[in-house]
């Protein structure tokens, strides 16, 4: 059909700006905070609450706080005492580690920062990243422990944030492969293997971490022959690994269940045996399915390392508690815990944001 010559030209109406009170700040307030009487009352209550809480909090935390000086300056001040943190920062970060060798944990920390940035900014391929992450604990351990040309620093002097991150990192790196093995074993058709895996996973998941830590710290020495005793930190690390493996196994199991059966059939058709099929095809897909949950488990594990204070290790939280009991600096528990909470929060929130960005990236790819 041609546009006939008698067709009238249509002149569209111009777009008018929205009426005042529906857009801009006023409009936003009306629709987001004062939308109906119930919401308005709620908003007013919230504003009142914030007005009551925020100003005193701000003045204690920042405005009236003491940032420089020493214990005397703090006692004279009315706000938070952040000089306390400054003075004790070494204890917070590395516990009782000897000051003369402090460059070593610092170097390990710097390497970690580089590694984290490389991972988050995706500057290397996944396979390279896996290798780097597996290498890092060995390098860090050598740096912190010593041996060869470095002085040895006994493990009883390891503490602080360094210990928390160390326990968590090793825990994660060892428990993920172990968890994969347990998950594969749970799906095995060999009844003995399946029962063994279930027999490990379910009881470990059903009891608190504290009981596992007690088991590792107190019971493990009883299981080993006299000459084969291992130090407390290693026992605790083993407990953490066992605990985390059971949870990782369940997460991986969910991922394995989501891999379509066709994959197994195709892989068998190509002629891959059980191990190669899993290593090359099934497990990578399973992991990709549940990457956000895996990261969630990593965050949980990092938080759980705070429990080692109960079996005698001075991790980040433990060091904070100990620092607050220094007789020269009494009464600054709040500052210690708030600083501790802030660092934990930054790390955990950062990890969860990273997890969410991976989730979103995965969704886009679909």
């Amino acid at each position: 059909m041609q546009i006939s010559d008698t067709a009238r030209v249509f002149t569209p109406l111009p777009s008018e700006p929205a009426p005042l009170g529906t857009v801009g700040p006023v409009g936003w307030l009306r629709s987001n905070m004062f939308d109906g009487w119930f919401n308005s009352v709620l908003s007013v209550l919230c504003i009142l609450f914030l007005a009551l809480v925020i100003p005193p909090l701000l003045s204690w935390l920042i405005l009236d706080a003491t940032w420089y000086g020493d214990a005397e300056t703090c006692k004279a001040g009315s706000g938070a005492c952040w000089t306390f943190i400054g003075h004790k920062i070494q204890v917070f970060l590395v516990g009782p580690y000897p000051t003369s060798e402090i460059w070593r944990p610092a170097a390990a920390a710097a390497l970690l920062v580089v590694l984290v940035l490389t991972t988050v900014l995706r500057l290397a391929r996944t396979s390279t990243l896996v290798v780097l992450w597996l290498l890092y604990p060995c390098i860090a351990f050598f740096l912190i422990n010593g041996g060869w040309f470095l002085n040895e620093v006994d493990q009883s002097r390891w503490g602080g944030l360094m210990l928390s991150i160390g326990l968590a990192l090793v825990g994660i790196l060892v428990s993920i492969p172990l968890g994969i093995l347990l998950a594969l074993g749970r799906r095995s058709r060999v009844i003995a293997i399946k029962s063994l895996c279930v027999g490990i996973i379910e009881p470990v998941r059903g009891v608190p971490l504290i009981t596992i830590l007690f088991m590792a710290s107190v019971m493990l020495p009883l299981f080993l022959p006299e000459h084969m005793q291992i130090n407390n930190m290693l026992r605790v690390q083993i407990g953490i690994i066992l605990f985390s493996s059971a949870y990782m196994a369940e997460v991986v199991r969910g991922g394995l269940q989501a891999v379509p059966n066709g994959q197994v059939e195709a892989a068998t058709a190509i002629g891959l045996n059980y191990w190669r099929m899993n290593y090359l095809i099934i497990v990578p897909q399973a992991l990709r399915n549940v990457l956000p949950s895996l990261i969630g488990r990593c965050i949980a594990l990092f938080k759980d390392t705070s429990l080692v204070i109960i079996v005698g290790l001075l991790d980040f939280l433990g060091s904070a508690k100990a620092a607050a009991q220094d007789s020269n600096w009494l009464g600054y528990d709040a500052e210690a815990y708030i600083f501790c909470a802030l660092i934990y929060w930054i790390i955990c929130f950062g990890m969860s944001r990273y997890g969410r960005s991976i989730e979103l990236r995965g969704a886009h790819r679909d």
Binding site: M1, I3, S4, A7, R8, V9, F10, P12, L13, S15, E16, P17, A18, P19, T22, V23
Partner: protein
């Protein structure tokens, strides 16, 4: 694009015993934020009329129809439905909605309720009907849309076409005087469009007022009393089907028709 309509060519004759305006939009303007989505809409719908609204995507047709049952708010002008002006009073809006049925593009059946329960939900909880009476009513309409044998199934077990027919039956159970259709066949596979259109054509024989946003021009030609063409948020042209398709007035309309026919 267009599909074979059941009775090609002829418009269906009907009996409009009660006349009068049932829906009136007067100088209606709507903004989404600062985007002017409906511009000075003036529309009068007579009782029993069957209206098809067409136009390119983004022209505001769905928004217009959704304003009529209060699913969208409007900032300027007035909308009156069966004598009741649509304001922001929730009770007025609820009363209007009980008399206006809506069929959605994505069916929107309640997946946790059986087909029968989907239909009896509103009569039982809103009209306070006894359960047995509501179930008889539901079976009556399920039979009309030819899906009575699926009454105990759940929506997840039905095909798209079946779900949409259930959705239509669900609105009919509230005995509305006005039916709004928001692109009812756009989410369906081609082989299921006909079964839904057949149901809609049958409905058109009743005294019910219908406003239908659709791209199915065969259906429009068969059933509509009036076709409204919208573009850029305004009503560009409205006419009876014959004149609309053979003698469009504006250049915009002609361009649109060229694309779809």
């Amino acid at each position: 694009m267009s599909h074979e309509s059941p009775s090609p060519g002829k418009t269906i004759e009907r009996n409009t015993s009660r006349g009068g305006t049932i829906v009136e939009l007067s100088n209606v303007d709507k903004w989404f934020g600062s985007f002017h989505v409906l511009k000075k809409i003036n529309l009068t719908v007579q009782r029993g009329e069957r209206i098809v609204i067409c136009g390119p995507s983004g022209s505001g047709k769905s928004t217009l129809v959704r304003c009529i049952n209060g699913l969208e708010e409007y900032q300027r002008g007035t909308i009156t439905v069966d004598g009741t002006p649509l304001t922001s009073d929730p009770r007025e809006i609820e009363r209007v909605r009980q008399n206006v049925g809506m069929v959605f593009q994505s069916f929107n059946l309640f997946p946790h309720m059986s087909v029968l329960h989907n239909l009896t939900f509103a009569p039982i909880w809103i009209r306070k009907m006894p359960k047995r009476e509501a179930e008889e009513l539901a079976m009556h309409f399920l039979t009309r849309v030819r899906i009575a044998d699926q009454a105990s199934k759940f929506p997840g077990q039905l095909s798209g076409g079946q779900q949409q027919r259930v959705a239509i039956a669900r609105t009919l159970c509230m005995n509305p005087e006005i039916l709004l259709f928001d692109e009812p066949t756009s989410a369906l596979d081609p082989e299921m469009i006909k079964e839904v259109l057949d149901v809609m054509v049958e409905l058109a024989r009743e005294e019910i007022t219908m406003l239908c946003v659709t791209h199915e021009m065969g259906f429009a030609r068969t059933v509509a009393d009036r076709i409204i063409f919208m573009d850029g948020g305004e009503i560009v042209e409205e006419n009876d089907p014959e004149s609309f398709f053979t003698r469009p007035v504006y250049d915009r309309t002609q361009e649109f028709l060229k694309q779809i026919i």
